[in-house]
Symmetry: C3
């Protein structure tokens, strides 16, 4: 268990510090979030000016909100941005005016099936404004009244902020660890991803590494595009990556496969998740989703997986005010942290097995690694020692210079860490060599 | 819907004109059938002389029947060819004589399990004669009586008639559209195939085509062999084909796969049939069947599929007098016509997708093809617009110069025509190029 | 049926002659067993000196037991080697002494779940001694008493004995037929394998052969290693092999696949077993098992299968005194003999089909091998003739120079022998050529 390297207390503190910030596609919310994260582990930030072209897209103007509310003509506030930043449709244009309910209603968003929940809505690419409120609040509005609407906001030429750092390795293989930081006050989507991202960064930056890791944190879609644009000539070594999102909900672990379904990251994730639950939820790649959409496009084709707990789209509180701090837990985030580290350990430890004693089985007995009394159902030892013998023999059997430790784990259903431990023992006994190919695994 | 190009009335007229003709392996029945079809759309006929070698076979003599009957000695007709041409075993030798019931019985064919039905039997490759009658008629025969048998028929050196036309295309790919025309008065097998054949020919001959189409109509087996013999040096561009048989019965659509099961014609058929019914009947290739037997032999290996409604072997009236005009319908034939046209549209429209904006997703929003308000379960639009967005993204995702429109339809389960419409829109928006490879798809 | 070539009586005689011998990893028991077998069919024996290196292993000392027992101090024998050679842990060190029950108990082995059974145990690679007895006998021992233990045995520098013969063929393909001969008085494991081995050897040595066969009989593990060491430069032509073990039990046939699961021996076995029972037991390759462990190692990678009746690990009497002559039967052994011969017939008869009439179907009718009256559900003949026609057409269809007779049997589900019979008929009719590729099938 690696949870020792990050404590519940510091996770909890970070949850509370970051939750209230009004993140959006750009602006101070994102900047303040990244600044707070940099206190935990260092990374670089880039400011990309509004109007800059990134592939088929353009960096948008920044958005700043001072206040936004609807009130009755006698000054009673119906909804106010200062109460909950979800009340204002993200990226709303400025507006001031007095409107009848009928005029206002097209700008109001509610969820009749979840009457207590404020929905989360944005209007990034169409100039518009709007308010989100619970259906309950909405139902109490006087439909014959007139309302004063104030959105004291502005769009201005500023910049989009993204954070990134490259932790170099020695293997010739790089992996991307990506989270998005544009969602305002919601817990599982995606405060949880942001928090997991920074602790994984701290963990990996302090540890010897075989592979290189590209940590990226940026607003969804346009931020991922901006990163790909910035680093497009540096990605040849990238073999895959992970999108960190919705990782601290109450639900079970699930995997969203990459487009290739059988890439190294997919296989590593399946190997680890299979130990947690052989019937773990496995969702095939789809073009809808998160930033894997950008990494997966024909020009890049980087296989990106998503390991979630209560994955986006698949939990009731998704994209509403009910996805708050009660919806996530530090325990759940720690479980994700440990699981991600296990996945990374598979990527780090996987290598090709070369037998040094390929003609007949090696004699394990004289090296003290074979049960000594024959004739019982294979061995007279406990089931544990029997299973361990079987795994040991599979390692020697597959050590033909073509198979990897991960192949053994997949073939036997045994955890990668146990396979690795056995392979290291056999290497120490002179029976095989674990080799990391010079240019990385395919 | 393409049913506009052929009317129920003309189909019905053709059914009634062609049903009574006594078709056989050669002779006037076939010739009169083809002459009637040439009034609808032109094609060539070839007369191949009796005795001509076609591969391992020899073109048989022609067969002509003037009359054939069994009567009691006092002149009561039991069965007569003039009542129903199924009464006479196809290709029977001439015979005249007076026989006891016991002598006659070996020449009588009945179906005890279907007592009302006259079976359909032939004796092409063994010199013999016989009569077919319902078990009911048979049961009423006086077994102690003697009977006068007259088969005023002859075999003579004539020719086998086959019809064919090549509609050229531009793609370098040819497809065969084949029906057999040797069955006498039965509806689904194979008057229906003959009628579908001529209307598909008229339709395709009047339409711009990418591919070439080889239309062939000929007696079963020997006719297909004769065609292959005639054109054996012209078939290099043929990528596959369709056998038109039993296409107007009351049953659901079914597919008999080609030997490769995954050839372009198989895939096109599955794509179209999957839209009609995701659980459509799919039968694997078998060496028993119809003329795909000849096209599939090692020397040709042309993948041929069969899309039927009430496929031969699999409906109760098969090869009996019950397979009459009541067994088929113009509606059913029109449904086949439309379905075949959809299959041809897939073959015609399929091409490779090349993205012109492969780095990151193209920005659909600025081109007016993306839902504008974000945050809802992918989109706030209707399910329709959500599904359409998803299909659009799949088209852009797979537009890597390796995948085709058919790949997208298969991946998404969306109809080929919708995928094609979206691809054409994206091409028009400058986001991709639809390319037909110079030598055709594999 | 080949059972004519071996009689129940001679099998039964051999069972009774060989059962009592105390076989072990080396020594007189093995030598006497092989001498008895040489009376049935000749083969060579090799003596490999103790201390010789074979790959990672060393040939152990020989073991000789004169007597071994436990008795009470007043001379009452509790267990004695002379009653049943399973009573003494195989390869036990010499020992003489007087022990309390508590001192003795660590050297006693019982099976509480099978209170009547003496377990079979060995201690080949750890210097130790012990006795095996039924739990019932054990329960009656006075736990407060003292016991006299005598093991009058010795380990000495001798040799390991292995038997082998190479029956040459002409095809360029060799197959291994291997059994192990180190188990003392037990029936199914592995007296049955030894007996099957010698009768297969006699059968194949008297018969014309296409392939070469390497017959090997040796103590398990170390004997297989010794053989591989001896012949390591002669195995290039070996395509696979069979491990003969547990072949005369009461259970159904089962297959343990080779590591490749789809090698020629696997396919031959599946083809034959599928005719016995379409749902025959098929166990995937595992690193635990018998001598396939050695043949399968990376340096050799010879696919070895096991066809058993009541396979080791999977029957209650396994490795106990209950696996005695009552546990096996001559009928069961004869069934195995016939089945193995069928598998060998597949290996011998399999070859590539080349059509001599590849353009269109050959005309079977003029050669008298096609039902003559058309129109019925394919034929009017019996189901038998219909099935035979279908198989015949499959043979001609697959005769493209790429497929073998085994491919046809697999595709049709028809027995290999029927496919072979049809192919030979078609070859005789000049329609195809059966070719054995010069260097053997892959």
């Amino acid at each position: 268990m690696n949870s020792a390297v990050v404590s519940s207390e510091e996770i909890n503190q970070l949850f509370h510090d970051l939750f209230p910030l009004c993140r959006s596609i750009s602006g101070e919310g994102v900047r303040n979030t990244l600044t707070r994260l940099q206190k935990i582990s260092k990374f670089s930030t880039h400011e990309i000016k509004s109007g800059t072209s990134v592939f088929d897209w353009t960096i948008p103007d920044e958005w700043r909100v001072r206040e936004a509310y609807i009130e009755t003509l006698d000054g009673k506030r119906i909804v106010s941005f200062s109460d909950n930043n979800l009340h204002l449709v993200g990226y709303s244009c400025p507006f001031q005016g007095e409107l009848s309910f009928d005029e206002l209603v097209d700008h109001l968003h509610t969820l009749p099936e979840q009457p207590d929940a404020i929905p989360y809505r944005t209007s990034y690419y169409k100039k518009d404004w709007g308010f989100c409120l619970s259906y309950q609040e909405y139902s109490q509005m006087d439909q014959s009244a007139r309302y004063r609407v104030v959105i004291d906001a502005e769009h201005f030429s500023g910049s989009l902020t993204l954070g990134e750092i490259y932790l170099p390795g020695t293997s010739g293989e790089d992996y991307i660890i990506h989270s998005y930081c544009c969602h305002p006050s919601m817990g599982n989507d995606n405060l949880s991803g942001i928090v997991l991202w920074i602790y994984l960064l701290r963990y990996l930056s302090e540890k010897p590494r075989r592979h290189g890791y590209r940590f990226v944190i940026a607003p969804e879609t346009i931020g991922a595009l901006a990163y790909l644009h910035l680093k497009q000539n540096d990605l040849d070594a990238v073999k895959g990556g992970l999108i960190l999102t919705t990782v601290a909900g109450p639900g079970p672990f699930s995997l969203k496969e990459s487009f290739s379904a059988n890439s190294l990251v997919d296989r590593a994730a399946k190997c680890v998740l299979g130990q947690v639950d052989p019937d773990f939820i496995c969702r095939p790649f789809d073009v809808l989703g998160s930033d894997e959409r950008q990494y997966s496009t024909p020009g890049f084709r980087i296989p990106m997986i998503t390991i979630a707990q209560s994955q986006y789209y698949h939990y009731a509180e998704y994209h509403t005010s009910l996805d708050n701090l009660d919806c996530i837990s530090t325990e759940s985030l720690l479980a994700s942290f440990n699981l991600y580290i296990n996945v990374i350990n598979v990527l780090e430890g996987n290598a090709i097995l070369h037998s040094l004693s390929p003609f007949g089985e090696p004699m394990l007995g004289k090296r003290g690694i074979y049960p000594m009394l024959g004739g019982g159902l294979n061995t007279e030892g406990s089931n544990t020692s029997h299973d361990r013998l079987r795994t040991t023999l599979w390692v020697t059997f597959l050590a033909d210079g073509k198979h990897t430790l991960l192949d053994v784990a997949e073939k036997t259903g045994v955890s990668f860490s146990e396979v690795e431990e056995i392979a290291l023992l056999l290497e120490q006994k002179g029976l095989l060599k674990i080799k990391y190919p010079e240019r990385g695994l395919r």
